[in-house]
């Protein structure tokens, strides 16, 4: 039995690795065709994809609805920014380190939230998401209040430029985001295929049955929060590295954006998470493309993307709750 489960674990890892490599190759190939603006957008897709995965794991797989992922992103963002600014660490060191603080935040949140369900959890996490800017303003000496912490992805190291040529700033943003997105994808895939994933699904589907089967779901629920928070924190760190970590960078609308992406694309799968992220990131551009010729007033064009994505969300939930990718629910349920 031990031999089989070891083999199984290795094959799960292998499958995840293949998926990750294919993903990376595709991103690079597609990115090479893009102009600078779309390359920057693609980098945003990769960054938010990680955040959406946090919702896929938390809500899609284990059924807990949190509206506060933006707050967890802020934890990752501020940790990374503080490490870079105060200790002059490189982002390649600061980001992995800040994963620790995200995990701790997830632990705290999990402990508080494990007893909550449904709208109680949603409402509480929403309040937390709103409280974040005030914390940044309250402890201004550390978090620099409204000014925030100015950080960015910096320049590629010498060896990289000599090997591959000097990348543009947008390309470099892509190259920084990609490895982290790949790592996130790898771990998410692993979890989904593994026994842990099955346990989480059992919590989502039928708590009473799960507890009868011996799942310590209080502990698992906390564990989900910890894992999901590290994804959110990683996403938040990369998101802040686009230029600034500050209160206005992680508003409540960011939490809702991630949720929308997860639901539109398909809340239960990694593919769904990616599709959804692509939709929410590129939607304003697509709208501008189609309606740019209509000469719409500023008043209308500023609010149209939000209106359309909200309507899409409602339609998805009412007509096809499983989202775009959910139509073909195969290996992972």
């Amino acid at each position: 039995m031990r031999a089989v489960s070891n083999l199984k674990r290795k094959s799960i890892a292998r499958t995840s690795l293949i998926r990750t490599l294919i993903f990376a190759a595709l991103v690079l190939l597609v990115g090479a065709q893009f102009d600078a603006y779309n390359q920057a957008q693609l980098a945003v897709v990769l960054i938010l994809f990680i955040g959406v995965l946090s919702i896929t794991l938390l809500t899609g797989i284990s059924g807990q609805l949190s509206l506060g992922q933006g707050a967890l992103m802020a934890v990752g963002g501020y940790s990374t920014a503080l490490l870079i600014t105060n200790y002059t660490l490189s982002l390649w060191v600061a980001i992995p380190l800040s994963v620790i603080s995200s995990a701790i935040a997830g632990l705290l949140l999990g402990v508080a939230a494990a007893r909550l369900r449904g709208p109680y959890l949603a409402g509480t996490t929403l309040v937390i998401a709103l409280a974040i800017p005030t914390i940044a303003n309250r402890f201004m000496s550390v978090f620099k209040g409204d000014e925030g912490l100015q950080v960015d992805v910096g320049y590629p190291p010498q060896w990289f430029s000599s090997l591959f040529g000097e990348p543009t700033y947008e390309q470099w943003q892509l190259y920084v985001a990609l490895p982290f997105a790949g790592v996130a994808l790898f771990f998410a895939s692993n979890i989904l295929l593994s026994r842990t994933g099955r346990m989480w699904r059992s919590i989502r589907d039928n708590e009473s049955a799960a507890s009868l089967a011996g799942v310590n779901f209080s502990r698992q629920k906390i564990y989900v929060f910890v894992i999901s928070s590290t994804f959110a924190g990683l996403s938040g760190a990369l998101y802040g590295l686009r230029g600034l970590v500050g209160p206005s960078v992680y508003p409540v609308s960011l939490s809702l954006l991630l949720l929308t992406a997860a639901v539109l694309g398909g809340i239960r799968s990694i593919t769904g998470a990616f599709i959804g992220t692509v939709i929410v990131v590129f939607l304003p551009d697509w709208i501008e493309l189609i309606l740019g010729n209509f000469g719409l007033s500023e008043q209308v064009s500023n609010f149209l993307p939000a209106l359309i994505s909200s309507l899409l969300l409602i339609l998805t939930v009412v007509i096809n709750p499983a989202g775009v990718a959910g139509a073909r629910l195969h290996k992972h349920k």
């Binding site: 809500t59 059924g63 807990q64 609805l65 509206l67 508080a112 007893r115 909550l116 369900r117 449904g118 709208p119 109680y120 949603a122 409402g123 509480t124 929403l126 309040v127 937390i128 709103l130 409280a131 005030t134 914390i135 303003n137 309250r138 919590i203 989502r204 589907d205 039928n206 708590e207 409540v252 809702l256 949720l259 929308t260 639901v263 809340i267 239960r268 008043q299 209308v300 500023n302 609010f303 149209l304 939000a306 209106l307 994505s309 909200s310 309507l311 969300l313 409602i314 939930v317 009412v318 096809n320 709750p321 499983a322 959910g326 629910l329």
Partner: protein
């Protein structure tokens, strides 16, 4: 002493508004079994309609009535076109899990909130508008001190008390009210007992819509109107409903006043920056110590 009185009166007038919001949330919870996060979006929308009427010369009371009616109509429409298809949907495999069944209506209400805010922006732009009060906004003079309690605040508190009495009577004494409670508890059984669950649910949404537009009308004079101003009110209203007990109208009002006092005293005696943390602290405290809320019944946490 002055500060104490001022904090007390501000807490009361604000508390009344939060009570109204919490009441609206409780009504939908009892009538439809979900927490409607779009509630303040509906309030904002109805208040914009009222504001437009006033700008075009109609009297405050005409606009007031229009807001209530449009609030009720909007609530009913949202239920008929969005919530009803949602609750009748059994096909999707996604909805076979209990937690997803609870999460999906919340997500839908968030979508509604976003759509309403965007729509308001498109129709009325992002201009901040003021909104008049039907009563004077000058404080009463008591023992030589001018208190920050105005005749408008008296108006607000009386309306809230009136609404509370009406809703309690409605839920306990009328047939429809009882039907709503039954539907919320168990839709299948209610249907079997002959209750027209769809219609009852729509009525809950309509009533809640009217209540929330009332809240919007009452709070806007002291702040300003724009697509986002009522976001904070929703958060406090939600906390108030949880504190009081999500299925208790009296609890909702009690929770509203408690939150109003907490916020007021934190603002006066501590610093405004701590208000959100205070709200969070109260919320967490209640959820940990007494999850059903002060006046909630044992099965208030039925999810």
């Amino acid at each position: 002493m002055n500060t104490f009185l001022a904090a007390l009166s501000l807490g009361t007038s604000r508390g009344a508004i939060f009570a109204l919001v919490a009441l609206g949330l409780v009504i939908v919870w009892r009538g439809a079994g979900i927490v409607n996060f779009a509630q303040m979006g509906q309030a904002m929308f109805s208040t914009y309609i009222a504001s437009t009427l006033i700008a075009n010369g109609y009297s405050y009371w005409v606009a007031f009535l229009a807001a209530l009616l449009s609030g009720a109509a909007l609530g009913a429409l949202l239920d008929i076109f969005i919530m009803r298809p949602l609750s009748n949907k059994k096909q999707s495999e996604l909805l076979s899990s209990e937690s997803m069944r609870a999460a999906v209506p919340v997500i839908a209400s968030l979508g509604i909130l976003g759509a309403l805010q965007a729509l308001a922006g498109i129709i009325w732009a992002a201009e901040e508008r003021g909104f008049p009060a039907p009563a004077k906004e000058e404080g009463f003079t008591v023992a030589g001190n001018v208190l920050p309690f105005t005749s408008f605040d008296v108006f607000v508190v009386s309306i809230v008390t009136l609404t509370l009495i009406v809703t309690t009577l409605f839920f306990t004494k009328t047939g429809i009210g009882l039907a709503m409670r039954a539907t919320a508890l168990n839709q299948e059984v209610a249907k079997l007992s002959g209750i027209r669950t769809n219609r009852t649910r729509t009525i809950s949404w309509a009533i809640s819509g009217a209540a929330s537009s009332l809240a919007g009308l009452l709070i806007t004079p002291t702040s300003n109107l724009s697509p986002n101003t009522l976001d904070l009110v929703l958060i406090v209203g939600f906390t108030a409903a949880v504190v009081g007990g999500l299925d208790s109208p009296v609890g909702a009002v009690l929770g509203g006043f408690i939150l109003g006092m907490v916020i007021s005293f934190v603002t006066f005696y501590d610093t405004p920056e701590d208000v959100f943390l205070a709200i969070l602290a109260v919320l967490l405290a209640v959820l940990i110590i007494r999850p059903r809320g002060i006046l909630g019944s044992k099965d208030a946490r039925r999810v």
